[in-house]
């Protein structure tokens, strides 16, 4: 009986990674970020969202997959979220593709981004450019009006 419990315990521990609440590194920020991006993407596009995140991490992949259809090919995506340090990628796609960033400075300097979700003073901040929204014919619902800046 002791041997059985010993083997059972070893077997349980070897699969412990499955119990995310126990050992898997997990950040609430990624979950919150994914939820907000989902809200923004579905409000911005009327079609099924196919999301591309360059150099997506395994954790992000796991969390974002709960909300989006993910792709590893930017040309198949209609929503690109650049949340790492790399520069904006070029995608030769005919489709209407929206670019979103997690960096306020990138958002200011590159007109390709119609908005940004970034952490300011440890708080999630959202910003959209009024002009860029018009250029891309994006009509955000009233709830997003407080995040739209007049430039």
């Amino acid at each position: 009986m002791k041997t059985f419990f010993f083997i059972f315990t070893l077997w349980s521990l070897s699969y412990a990674e499955h119990y995310t609440f126990l050992v898997e590194p997990y950040t609430k920020e990624v979950e919150l970020e994914a939820k907000i991006i989902y809200e923004i993407a579905t409000a911005s596009l009327d079609e099924n969202i196919v999301l591309f995140i360059p150099n997506i991490s395994p954790l992000e992949e796991k969390v974002y997959a709960n909300y989006f259809t993910l792709t590893k090919d930017c040309e198949r995506a209609n929503f690109i979220f650049i949340n790492k340090k790399e520069e904006i990628i070029e995608c030769s796609s005919d489709k209407k593709t929206l670019f979103f960033t997690n960096n306020y400075r990138k958002f200011l300097s590159n007109k390709k981004f119609f908005g940004a979700l970034f952490w300011n003073k440890s708080r999630p901040n959202i910003v959209f450019s009024h002009q860029r929204l018009e250029e891309k014919s994006i009509n955000l619902p009233q709830t997003f009006q407080q995040f739209i800046e007049n430039f």
Binding site: R105, N120, K121, S122, R123, P124, N125, Q146, F147
Partner: protein, 392 residues
């Protein structure tokens, strides 16, 4: 005469109340300590912040529009940043100056953060809670506790007024470390208090167990081992507590007991005593008591029912008498004999000065019963210290 359960439950209830009170006090104490530690830990930085707010206000004195003045003059921006930089410590993660535009959106006018984290002048700032708006109505400093942001514990906001209107807000955000440190101190105090409570509970438990053991030892000292009824020690201990208005007293003696012992042996005598005691215990009511006074003599304290005026109490004695008369007493596995008893009853126990006197009067009646041919009940009368015989 039976042990009142009040004496068992009252101390337990009292201990329970004390524990609940201690728990309540601990909780209050914990809150007070938390508030006090928080006050001690933050009072300095709050004071410095108030000074900074005054300095910023002084910088802008004379200006018609504080916000436009800050936006317009780089020198003012620089001085504001110097004030903000002073506020940053290992626990104060962010210090910044905000205003609220005509759309109700908060925007930066100064930020002590460095590099990438630094916000631009006029950059929009999405605050995390509608609590922030309260400062515009109260015009007083405001503490906001963060429960959802896991890097920040609380924010402290100081309003900078212009024409009695909140024009700017000086804000700092405490990192979670501050509260974690406070919580660690509180945790230590809490552990100490709970440790003390644990010790108190253990001591009370120990006292309780010891009291129960003592009480059971005491109880066994008061019970006659052969007959399982109270013994003379019990009577001696509690006779002063017996309320004579509540009882009639009967002294019962087994007739010819010496002869039984001599004829059938002491073992047979013991069996008779055991069976008599058993009949007594089976026949008496709740509230009545039986005491083996010594040898073959028993004492019955029959509770007086005020309504029936001794009738019911005397009926108990009669039932005992008849039960013994009709019972078969086994002196061995096969052999049984009949046994009779003489009983002296004192119905006037309430008139006696004390228990000894009341008992003596019952004993006088018993003596009369013995002298009247035994196997009868004799009641004590007051008339001439004699007793009236009840023939059966």
């Amino acid at each position: 005469m039976r042990q009142n359960s009040f004496y068992l439950f009252a101390p337990l209830g009292l201990i329970g109340l004390i524990l609940v009170f201690l728990l309540f006090v601990t909780m209050r104490l914990e809150k007070n300590i938390e508030a006090k530690i928080f006050e001690i830990a933050t009072s300095d930085i709050f004071s410095i912040m108030h000074n900074s707010a005054h300095s910023i206000e002084s910088l802008l004195k004379g200006s018609e529009d504080y916000v436009q003045s800050v936006k317009k003059y780089a020198s003012i921006q620089q001085k504001i940043e110097e004030h903000l930089n002073v506020l940053l410590t290992s626990h104060v993660k962010y210090a910044y100056l905000l205003y609220r535009d005509e759309r109700g959106i908060f925007r930066f006018l100064g930020d002590a953060s460095l590099n990438e984290e630094k916000s631009f002048i006029d950059q929009k700032f999405d605050v995390d809670s509608p609590e922030w708006l309260a400062i515009y109505s109260t015009k007083e400093p405001l503490i906001i506790h963060h429960t959802l942001l896991h890097q920040l514990s609380l924010s402290y906001l100081v309003p900078i007024l212009h024409n009695n209107r909140v024009e700017l807000i000086l804000a700092i955000d405490f990192s979670i470390n501050k509260i974690q440190e406070i919580n660690r101190i509180i945790q230590t105090i809490q552990n100490g208090i709970f440790g003390m409570m644990g010790v108190i509970i253990l001591v009370l438990l120990f006292i309780g167990i010891q009291t129960k053991r003592f009480s059971s030892i005491k109880q066994s000292a008061f019970i006659d081992k052969l007959t399982n009824v109270y013994n003379r020690n019990y009577l001696q201990k509690y006779e002063k507590l017996i309320n004579l208005n509540e009882y009639i007293i009967a002294a019962l003696d087994i007739d010819y007991f010496k002869k039984i012992n001599d004829t059938y042996g002491h073992d047979a005598g013991d069996k008779i005593l055991t069976q008599i005691a058993h009949i007594l215990l089976q026949t008496i009511r709740e509230g009545d008591s039986v005491i083996r006074y010594g040898g073959e003599e028993f004492l019955i304290l029959a509770k007086v029912d005020k309504k029936s005026n001794y009738t019911a109490s005397f009926a108990v004695i009669e039932r005992v008498f008849h039960a013994i008369q009709t019972a078969e007493f086994f002196i061995s596995d096969t052999k049984s004999i009949s046994v009779s008893v003489s009983i002296g009853v004192n119905l006037l126990a309430h008139q006696a000065q004390n228990f000894q006197e009341a008992f003596k009067q019952a004993d006088i009646a018993l003596y009369t019963a013995k002298n009247s041919g035994k196997n009868c009940i004799q009641c004590y009368t007051n008339a001439d210290n004699t007793s009236a015989k009840t023939p059966f």
